[in-house]
C-alpha cells in the first residue's frame, strides 16, 4: 500500500499545567502543527478563556457588554458567570483599573480582587495587567504574593519587567506569559532571559502579541507559525512553549468591532460584526499554533468550541479523501511513456491488503481523541448543500487535475496535505459561522434574515486597509531625528504603517542577506549556508554546493555582481536620461532647458575630444551630447572619462583589463555571465563586476553629474534648510522625490510662477506654494536653487503623515510603494512621472516629456493646488524644526575656494594634509536603513571623524542626515572639529563636512580625489592618499556599485548594516583582503558601531600617512646652497 510522505517533527511543545490544585488544566504537548493529527498528536485541545475586568468597562461595545450586564460591578460574580454559564476553560482577569492613564487603582487593591476571583472559580486564572511596564511590575508582584500557591498566569511579562515579575513568579510558583512585540527573535530571547532568571521551563507561556484580523493578524500569524516551525522541526527548545493569544483586547478595540450599526450601516449588523471578527481572529490564531485564547464574547467562545469539536478529531488520510495511489506514482516516477494514463491510474484499485478509501458519500472515518471534546455533530445548513453529483464539466476538470497530479513530487504532496488541513478547517469555520450568523438574526426581523450573512460579510472579509495596529515602540531607539520621532508617534496614534513599523515585524532573510542563496535557475533556490557552530572540514565544504555544483563563493560572487549591475544600470540610465535631455536642449528643441554653464561645457568637450576653437556653443553642445550618448553603446576602446583618472590608476585598470568599452555593455555582460552555467570563477566574476562598476562611476554617473551641471548649473555654495519644517500650514505643499533633476528643475520654475502663486492663494493657501525635496532630487534642487530638503529616504512616508502634503511628485529610485497606500489615508496625491516607473495606487501618472516640460509641471502643480481644499485640518500636525546648512561643494567650487579665481588650486588642501592639520579625507555617503537607528551611524561617525581632524565629503541621504544634525554649517567646525581641521575650516570658511550632491555625484568625489593626487605630495594614485569611503546605513544596490567603483579606484570602503557576501568566507575574504593587492582598495564591514567604524577608518588613514612619510611632524630645515647641491 502506498503511503504519503509525512513530515517528521523532532521537537515537542512542553506541557504546562495551569490552575490551582484540583482545578488544573494542561496546555501544550503537541508533537505536530496544530490539528495535524495525521502527522502527530495534539494531546490537549486549545483552551478558551473569557475576559473579566476589575472595573466596569467604559469603552466596550454594547454587544460585548450585554451578556454580563448584571455582573459588571462584581468581578467575582462575572468570573463565576463565565465559568458556570458560558463554560469557559479559564478566566482572564484584566486589571484595567490599574492603568496609570485611567483610574490608576493601587496594586494591593488589584491583588485583592485577583485573589478573590482565583479562590471563587474552579478553573485556572490568568491575571493580565496593562501596557505600562512600571505599573505592571508593581501590580503583578502584589498579585503573585496574594495568590500564592494558586498557580495563576501572570502577564504580560516583558523585557522591561521580566526580572521583577519573573522573580515573583518563581517565589510564589506561578506561570508567566512572556510577551514580545511580534518578533520570533525577541520571543526566544525573552524565554532565555526568563530561564536564566530561574523561571522553571514548565512555567512559561509565549504571548507573541496578537493583531486582530485586518489589524496585523497576518504578521502575528506568520511569527506564530515560525515559532512553531522552530520548536517542532528544528527542535528549538527555547521556543517549545504553549502560546497564549489575547484576542479579546485586540479585536474589540477596533472601530469595526465597536461601531454601532447606525453610524455605518454598510459595515453590517453590529450585533454580529464584533463576534465574527473575534471568531475569525481566534480561528487564525488556532491555525498558527495557539494553545490558549483569551476571548471576550461568550458567543465567540461557543463558536470556537464547536470548531474545536470538529477539528480535534484524529484525521487519517482516508477521511481526508486523499487518493493514496497518487503518492505511489509520485514516489516512484516511471518514464512518461511507460506510465499508465491518468484515467487508468485513477481507476486502479488500491492493493487488497488495505481497505479501499471510503466513497465520498460515506461519512469519514473518525476517532475522537480527547474525551472532553464532544463528538462532531452535523451542523444545520442554512442554504441547500451543493449537489453531490459532479456535472460533466467538473468531472472533466477533475480528470485534468488528476493528470497534472501524476507529476507531483513529494514536496508538492506535502504542500497539498497542508492545504487539505487548512481547507478542512475553513470548511468547518464556514459551517460554524453560517450557523452562528443565522442564530444571531433577531426573530423580530425575519425579513432581514436572508440578508444578514451578506451584510456581515464585508465587515469581516474586507477590513479597511489603511490602518494596521503595531504594538507600541520606543522610537527613540529607531531614530535620532526629533522630527522623525514625532512623525512616528503620530503614525502610532493614527495606526499608520511606515517602513519603521514594518521593520519591527518583518525580519531580513538571513540567508538571502548573506549572499548564499542562489535563485538564478528553477532547480533552486539553493541555499548553501555554512553549518552553524562548528568548523567545516574541506570535504564537507566541497559537498556544500548548489544543485548544479556551484560553489558557495561562486554563488555569493554572482549575487554580488548582480547587485552591482543593478546599481550601475540605475545610475547610468539616469545619466542617459540627462544626456538625452541635454542633446535635445542643445539642439534647441526643448524651450524650457538652456545651457547654463559654458565653462563646464568646454571642459567636458575637451575630455570628449570635441573641438571648441571657433565654434558656436550650440554646435559644441550638440557634439558633446552626441558623444555622451555614444558612450552608452560604444563597443570597443575605452570610455572617455577614464582619462581623467590618475595615470597610475589607468595603468592598473588596463593591466587588469577592467576598463569598460561602453557603459551599457558591462551591465549586460554581468547579467549574462551570472546566468546559470556561464562564469563560475569567483575572482573572474568580481573582475567583470568591477568593470561594470567602473562603467557606473567613471561612466554613467559622471556623465549624469557633468551634463546636469552644464544644463542646470554647477553648484556653488548656498545656504539651505533641511527637515519637514519646510512644509507650511498656509501654503500648498509639494514634494519632489526621486533622483533625476529634469522634472524637478522645471517644477521649481512652475511653483515660482506668479500665476500659480495667485491660483494657490485663490484656493485658500494664503502663503502660496512651498516646494521641498526628498532623497537625491532634493540634493539636486537644493544645491542649485536653495529649495529646502524635507527629509531623507526614510522620511518619505512621514511627509505624508504630516497631513499637509498636497502632492508628492516622484520619478525613479528609492520610492517606497508604501507611500501610495499611506497617501489614501490622507488627501496626498502621489504623482508618478517616469515612463519606467508607475505605481499601483498612485493618484495619477504623467508621462513626462521634456518638450512640454513646463506645461506638464504646471499641470502637476495645478492639481496639487486644487487638492489644497481637501486637506483635513484635524489631521495636520506640522513640525517646525529645520536646520541651516551650507551646501553645493562641487569639485570646481572647492578648487575655487582654496585659491580664488586666479590661483584656484588644491594645494592648500594637500599642504594641510601633509602638515597634519587635516588628518585625512572621508566620504560618508549612502542611504537610510530602517533596520538600524535612523541617521545615528551617519551622524556619530561623522562627528567622530571630524573630531579627529578628518575632513568629511558627503552625498545623498547621508548628507541630509548630517545636515539635520547641524554638521553642514561653518559654525560646526568650531563645535565639533579637532583643532587642525577647525583652523582650516575657519580660514577657508567651510563646514567640516562638505555636501557634494546626490548619489550620482559621488563621481565628484572621484574627481576631487584625482585633483588631490595630481596636485602632488600625496603619492601617485588615489590608493596612496589618506582617504576612506563609508556607507554606514546603505540599503540600495546602487550603494554596492558605488562601493565597488571606489574600491577599484583604490579606496578603502566600509559598509555598515550588512554586507552582501558576509555568509560566504572565500568571496568575502577576497573582497576584504586579496582585492587590495590588485586595486589598492578593499572592502570592510562593521555592523552598526560608529565608533568601531571611525577607529578602522582612522587606522587606514594613519597607515596611508605612514606610507607617505607624513605621519610625524617634521622639523623645517632651512637649506643652504651646499645642502641643495648635496640633494641634487
Amino acid at each position: 500500500m502506498a503511503e504519503l510522505p509525512k513530515a517528521k517533527y523532532t521537537g515537542k511543545i512542553r506541557e504546562i499545567t495551569l490552575g490551582k490544585p484540583g482545578c488544573e488544566v494542561v496546555v501544550g504537548g503537541e508533537t505536530s502543527y496544530n490539528f495535524y493529527s495525521f502527522e502527530g498528536k495534539t494531546p490537549n485541545a486549545p483552551k478558551l478563556a473569557l475576559q473579566v475586568l476589575d472595573i466596569v468597562p467604559e469603552e466596550w461595545a454594547e454587544e460585548a457588554l450585554a451578556p454580563f450586564k448584571d455582573v459588571l460591578n462584581d468581578p467575582v460574580a462575572w468570573a463565576k458567570k463565565c465559568v458556570d454559564e458560558y463554560k469557559a476553560d479559564i478566566v482572564a482577569l484584566w486589571l484595567a483599573g490599574t492603568d496609570p492613564n485611567g483610574k490608576n487603582l493601587p496594586a494591593d487593591q488589584a491583588a485583592e480582587v485577583a485573589k478573590k476571583v482565583a479562590e471563587a472559580i474552579n478553573v485556572p486564572l490568568i491575571v493580565w495587567g496593562t501596557s505600562n511596564d512600571e505599573k505592571n511590575t508593581e501590580v503583578l508582584k502584589a498579585v503573585a504574593e496574594a495568590c500564592a500557591g494558586l498557580n495563576v498566569v501572570l502577564g504580560p511579562v516583558t523585557e522591561g519587567n521580566y526580572k521583577q515579575v519573573g522573580a515573583a513568579a518563581i517565589a510564589y510558583k506561578h506561570v508567566v506569559a512572556a510577551n514580545t512585540p511580534i518578533d520570533i527573535n525577541l520571543a526566544k530571547q525573552l524565554n532565555i532571559l526568563l530561564e536564566n532568571l530561574g523561571v522553571p521551563n514548565n512555567k512559561i507561556l509565549i504571548d507573541p502579541t496578537t493583531g486582530g484580523v485586518g489589524y496585523g493578524m497576518e504578521y502575528c500569524y506568520s511569527i506564530m507559525e515560525r515559532i512553531r516551525q522552530a520548536a517542532l522541526t528544528q527542535n528549538d527548545d527555547k521556543l517549545q512553549y504553549p502560546i497564549v493569544n489575547n484576542i479579546a483586547e485586540e479585536v474589540w478595540k477596533t472601530k469595526e468591532a465597536k461601531l454601532p450599526t447606525a453610524e455605518d450601516p454598510k459595515l453590517g449588523d453590529a450585533a454580529i460584526r464584533g463576534i465574527n471578527l473575534e471568531a475569525i481572529t481566534a480561528l487564525s490564531a488556532l491555525q498558527a499554533g495557539a494553545d490558549v485564547l483569551i476571548l471576550r464574547h461568550p458567543k465567540t467562545l461557543e463558536h470556537i468550541r464547536k470548531y474545536l469539536s470538529n477539528i480535534m478529531i484524529e484525521t487519517n488520510l482516508e477521511s481526508m479523501e486523499v487518493d493514496l495511489t497518487l503518492g505511489a506514482q509520485a514516489a516512484a516516477p516511471a518514464p512518461p511513456k511507460a506510465a499508465p494514463k491518468p484515467a487508468e491510474k485513477a481507476a486502479t484499485p488500491p492493493p487488497a491488503a488495505k481497505p479501499a478509501p471510503p466513497k465520498k458519500e460515506e461519512p469519514p472515518a473518525v476517532k475522537v481523541v480527547e474525551p472532553k471534546i464532544e463528538a462532531p455533530k452535523p451542523e444545520p445548513k442554512v442554504e441547500a448543500p451543493p449537489p453531490k453529483e459532479k456535472p460533466a464539466a467538473a468531472a472533466a476538470v477533475q480528470e485534468e487535475d488528476i493528470e497534472l497530479m501524476g507529476t507531483l513530487t513529494k514536496d508538492d504532496i506535502q504542500s497539498l496535505k497542508e492545504m487539505a488541513g487548512v481547507f478542512r478547517a475553513v470548511k468547518n469555520l464556514a459551517t460554524g459561522l453560517t450557523s452562528l450568523v443565522s442564530g444571531q438574526v433577531p426573530a423580530a426581523a425575519p425579513a432581514a434574515a436572508p440578508a444578514a450573512p451578506v451584510a456581515a460579510a464585508p465587515a469581516v472579509a474586507a477590513p479597511p486597509l489603511k490602518k494596521k495596529e503595531i504594538p507600541p515602540a520606543d522610537w527613540t531607539k529607531h531614530t535620532i531625528d526629533p522630527v522623525t520621532l514625532e512623525g512616528l508617534k503620530k503614525a502610532d496614534e493614527g495606526g499608520y504603517s511606515t517602513a519603521f513599523h514594518r521593520a519591527r515585524v518583518l525580519s531580513a532573510c538571513p540567508i538571502g542577506k548573506g549572499g548564499t542563496c542562489c535563485k538564478i535557475c528553477n532547480m533552486g533556490p539553493c541555499r548553501v549556508l555554512p553549518p552553524k557552530g562548528k568548523t567545516e572540514t574541506p570535504e564537507e565544504r566541497k559537498k556544500r554546493c548548489g544543485l548544479c555544483g556551484a560553489t558557495p563563493e561562486t554563488i555569493a560572487a554572482r549575487n554580488f555582481a548582480r547587485m552591482i549591475a543593478a546599481g550601475a544600470a540605475a545610475h547610468s540610465d539616469h545619466g542617459r536620461h540627462v544626456a538625452h535631455t541635454f542633446l535635445h536642449a542643445a539642439k534647441g528643441e526643448l524651450p524650457d532647458y538652456q545651457i547654463k554653464d559654458i565653462p563646464k561645457l568646454l571642459a567636458v568637450a575637451m575630455d570628449f575630444g570635441v573641438e571648441t576653437d571657433g565654434r558656436e556653443i550650440k554646435d559644441i553642445a550638440i557634439e558633446v551630447g552626441e558623444k555622451a550618448l555614444a558612450q552608452y553603446g560604444q563597443q570597443d576602446g575605452e570610455i572617455s572619462n577614464v582619462k581623467r583618472a590618475p595615470l597610475k590608476r589607468q595603468e592598473i585598470w588596463r593591466k587588469e583589463n577592467v576598463i569598460p568599452a561602453g557603459i551599457d555593455r558591462p551591465v549586460v555582460e554581468v547579467m549574462h555571465m551570472t546566468h546559470m552555467g556561464v562564469n563560475q570563477d569567483m575572482e573572474h566574476i568580481i573582475r567583470l563586476a568591477t568593470k561594470c562598476a567602473l562603467a557606473d562611476g567613471w561612466g554613467g554617473s559622471m556623465i549624469a553629474t557633468d551634463l546636469s551641471d552644464i544644463l542646470y548649473g554647477t553648484p556653488v555654495p548656498i545656504l539651505g534648510k533641511v527637515n519637514l519644517g519646510c512644509m507650511k500650514e498656509d501654503t500648498v505643499n509639494i514634494i519632489v522625490h526621486g533622483h533625476e533633476p529634469s522634472l524637478s528643475e522645471i517644477i521649481v520654475q512652475a511653483v515660482q510662477d506668479p500665476e500659480m502663486i495667485a491660483y494657490a492663494q485663490s484656493k485658500g493657501a494664503s502663503g502660496g506654494i512651498s516646494l521641498g525635496g526628498i532623497c537625491c532630487t532634493s540634493n539636486e534642487i537644493l544645491m542649485r536653487h536653495g529649495i529646502p530638503i524635507a527629509g531623507n529616504y526614510l522620511q518619505q512616508e512621514l511627509a505624508i503623515i504630516t497631513g499637509a502634503l498636497e502632492a508628492m511628485v516622484v520619478d525613479v529610485q528609492c520610492i517606497m510603494q508604501g507611500v501610495a497606500e499611506l497617501a489614501k489615508c490622507f488627501h496626498t496625491q502621489i504623482v508618478t512621472t517616469s515612463p519606467i516607473a508607475k505605481m499601483q495606487g498612485a493618484y495619477k501618472h504623467y508621462d513626462f516629456d521634456e518638450h512640454h516640460a513646463l506645461e506638464i509641471a504646471k499641470s502637476i502643480v495645478r492639481d496639487a493646488i486644487d487638492n489644497f481644499p481637501n486637506r483635513d485640518k484635524n489631521k495636520v500636525s506640522l513640525p517646525t524644526e529645520q536646520h541651516d546648512m551650507v551646501v553645493g561643494f562641487s569639485h570646481e567650487t572647492i578648487n575655487y575656494l582654496l585659491g580664488g579665481m586666479f590661483r584656484a588650486s588644491y594645494r592648500p588642501l594637500n599642504d594641510n594634509i601633509i602638515n597634519g592639520r587635516i588628518r585625512g579625507l572621508a566620504g560618508i555617503v549612502g542611504c537610510g536603513n530602517a533596520r538600524i537607528n535612523h541617521d545615528f551611524l551617519h551622524v556619530e561617525l561623522a562627528k567622530e571623524l571630524i573630531k579627529k581632524d578628518v575632513l568629511v565629503l558627503t552625498t545623498g541621504c547621508g548628507a541630509i542626515a548630517l545636515g539635520k544634525a547641524g554638521l553642514l554649517t561653518p559654525e560646526a567646525a568650531a563645535k565639533y572639529a579637532g583643532p587642525g581641521l577647525a583652523e582650516v575650516c575657519e580660514t577657508v570658511g567651510i563646514p567640516p563636512a562638505l555636501h557634494m550632491g546626490s548619489c550620482v555625484d559621488n563621481s565628484r568625489i572621484l574627481i576631487a580625489a584625482t585633483a588631490v593626487v595630481r596636485d602632488g605630495g600625496l603619492g601617485d594614485d588615489i590608493s596612496e592618499i589618506p582617504a576612506v569611503g563609508v556607507a554606514p546605513e546603505w540599503m540600495s544596490e546602487k550603494a554596492v556599485s558605488i562601493g565597488q567603483y571606489f574600491v577599484a579606484s583604490g579606496c578603502y570602503v566600509l559598509f555598515g548594516v550588512g554586507f552582501p557576501t558576509i555568509n560566504e568566507d572565500i568571496c568575502t575574504n577576497y573582497l576584504f583582503k586579496d582585492i587590495e593587492k590588485v586595486y589598492g582598495g578593499r572592502w570592510d564591514f562593521v555592523e552598526k558601531d560608529p565608533y568601531e567604524m571611525a577607529k578602522r577608518c582612522l587606522e587606514h588613514i594613519d597607515a596611508k600617512r605612514k606610507a607617505l612619510g607624513i605621519d610625524k611632524a617634521r622639523e623645517r630645515v632651512l637649506m643652504d646652497m651646499a645642502m641643495r647641491r648635496e640633494i641634487a
Binding site: 554653464d597 559654458i598 565653462p599 568646454l602 571642459a603 575637451m606 575630455d607 571648441t612 581623467r644 590618475p646 595615470l647 597610475k648 595603468e651 548649473g713 554647477t714 556653488v716 555654495p717 548656498i718 545656504l719 536653487h785 536653495g786 541651516d884 570646481e892 567650487t893 578648487n895 575655487y896 585659491g899 579665481m901 586666479f902 584656484a904 588650486s905 588644491y906 574627481i1007 584625482t1010 585633483a1011 593626487v1013 595630481r1014 596636485d1015 602632488g1016 605630495g1017 600625496l1018 603619492g1019 601617485d1020 594614485d1021
Partner: protein, 76 residues
Amino acid sequence: MADKFEQKERFDGQKVNILMPEYVAGTDKDRYQWRKNISIVNIGDESLPVKRYLTTAERYFCSSDWFGSEKRKNPA
C-alpha cells in the same frame, strides 16, 4: 542687530563682558555665483578667457601639461 555679550572671568578674577561673534544670515540672493565671473575675468588672452581659466585653474584635468605628481621625467 543688537550686540550680544557673554560674561567671562578675567585672569585676575574680575568679571568682564565679552562681545560675542555676530553675523547676518545669508539668503539665496546673497549667493556668490563665482562661476559667472569666469567669462569676464581677463586671464591672458582676452579672446579666450574661459579656455584660459580652464587650462590654469582646472589644470588637473584640462591642461595638456602634467602637473604635480604626474609631472615627472618617467611617468608612472
